[in-house]
């Protein structure tokens, strides 16, 4: 167990590679109770959210969700989040380590929206995720709601083992899967029910370390790495979560300019051509000169080779470009490759 943003979290249960492969081939069970949950209610909830977030919240139907960013005025990033529209409120799910910062910032932005109410429900809300191709099979017998027809980035209320939950078809692994929001008091019961139901199908508990390798293969950004108060969504490849079609919002001017001029640097994915595992913050070199840095790196359990993400000047971001990563003070050859590194085969599931 390690301390993580004030929580005691398991880094691994059985082993990173085992856990990683279980999620790719069967299913994994994640305790994500550390994540922050913020409710937004009131008549001005939508207009506030469309001012404080980059994506267009007006596009959300009740029961649907979208990936979005909380921007600073200069277009850099306070946090990334998933915004759910429920029947009578919105739910914003943010990173554990950023909850306090996000709340301070959002409350400040909400000063001009007296009829928007912000409620931090992180402490009373636990979050359990089931991810992997067998997820649907694990959940179906336990839920009274129809999880089979629940679409990607959609959510519905459901009962599981007598507990009232919000079940969403979302995740951070690149697999089909569900995230289940449950009152803290019911969380253990739901965890054990999912574990018992999933075990015969190959489901195992998955810790933080495999969560990181899974999201990295799927090229999903991690705050403090690919995105931060030093980076903007356009260079991070998250322009699709920035809506310039809606009205004014925080950071709009900066992001409009960035999109118009094109980013000076870009987030790239690369694979190593020689032995060596890239790690965050290592320098990226081109022709002997430092041109960028690694944001995340690991040994990919699916591809069986070291992979990484990092920022380089746009002119070096083209596929097949050869770069060097300074691994433990030694330049190791690498090549810009197409991302995501891993993409699941889409079958019958949404």
């Amino acid at each position: 167990m390690v301390p993580f943003a004030g929580w005691m979290m398991p880094v691994q249960y059985t082993g990173v590679i085992d856990e990683h492969r279980a999620v790719r081939s069967a299913a994994g069970l994640f305790d994500l109770s550390h994540m922050g949950e913020i409710e937004i209610l009131g008549e001005q909830a939508l207009s506030f959210l469309n001012y404080a977030l980059t994506n267009d919240a007006a596009k959300l139907e009740p029961g649907s969700a979208q990936y979005t960013l909380i921007p600073y005025t200069d277009g850099t990033i306070v946090d990334d989040a998933i915004l759910y529209r429920l029947d009578d409120r919105y739910l914003l799910v943010v990173n554990a380590s950023n909850v306090e910062k996000d709340l301070d910032w959002l409350r400040h932005q909400a000063l001009g929206f007296p009829a928007a109410e912000i409620r931090d429900v992180s402490d009373q809300t636990a979050l359990v995720a089931v991810q992997g191709p067998c997820s649907e099979e694990v959940l179906r017998p336990l839920m009274d709601a129809d999880v089979v027809t629940l679409g990607y980035y959609h959510a519905t209320q459901a009962m599981v083992c007598g507990a009232s939950v919000l079940v969403a078809r979302t995740g951070y692994t690149g697999e089909d899967g569900f995230e289940i929001f449950v009152e803290s008091g019911d969380a253990t019961r739901v965890w054990h029910a999912l574990l018992a139901q999933g075990k015969p199908l190959g489901l195992i508990p998955v810790g933080l370390a495999a969560r990181d390798t899974l999201r990295l293969e799927a090229k999903m950004a991690l705050y403090g790495h690919e995105i931060s108060d030093q980076t903007n969504p356009i260079e991070a490849g998250l322009g699709w979560a920035v809506s310039l079609e809606k009205g004014d919002f925080v950071g709009r001017e900066a992001l409009e300019r960035e999109r118009r001029l094109g980013p000076a640097r870009k987030l790239i994915g690369f694979e190593m051509l020689e032995r060596g595992v890239p790690r965050a913050e290592q320098p990226i070199y081109k022709d002997g000169v430092q041109v960028g840095f690694v944001t995340s790196g690991t040994y990919s359990p699916t591809l069986n080779k070291p992979i990484g993400l990092g920022y380089v000047p746009t002119r070096f971001s083209r596929l097949e470009t050869e770069i060097d990563i300074l691994v433990r003070d030694r330049p190791i050859r690498a090549r810009v490759v197409r991302t995501p590194f891993y993409k699941r085969e889409r079958g019958a599931s949404p």
Binding site: G15, H20, A209, T213, R275, G276, V277, T298, Y299, P301
Partner: protein
């Protein structure tokens, strides 16, 4: 868990001295902390090791770490099983996962290392 016939470093390497040959590896505690090992970089036969100085490196999925020599001497054998299939370090750190055999230049250096009992306490504390 930690064999009695080995000496231990604060960086979690072990050394077992038999006659004029010392065998070096990392401990069970170390492999557990590292998680799945994917690369081990070791020096070649003939290389000189200095006590407490890095002699190689180890990469797991999670992290990278230097390997520190428990003893000074000359490398006489490198375990290619470890470089070919690094998972053996996780599976059997005190046995098949050994890394180097060394001809020690000063056997008295071993006295500065921890015994199995001392290392057991050390890892409980850290």
């Amino acid at each position: 868990m930690n064999p009695e016939n080995c000496w231990y470093t604060q960086e979690h390497e072990w050394v077992r001295i038999e006659g004029d040959v010392a065998t070096i590896g990392i401990t069970h505690h170390a492999q557990q902390q590292l998680g799945d090992v994917v690369y081990v970089d070791l020096p070649e036969v003939g290389a000189t090791l200095n006590q407490h100085q890095p002699f190689g490196s180890i990469d797991s999925v999670k992290t990278a770490s230097d390997l520190f020599s428990p003893i000074s001497g000359e490398v006489v054998e490198v375990n290619s099983a470890v470089t070919d299939d690094p998972a053996v370090v996780n599976a059997d750190p005190f046995g098949q996962g050994w890394m180097l055999r060394v001809r020690p230049s000063d056997l008295a250096e071993a006295d500065t290392l921890m015994t199995a009992d001392q290392y057991g306490l050390y890892t409980q504390e850290s």
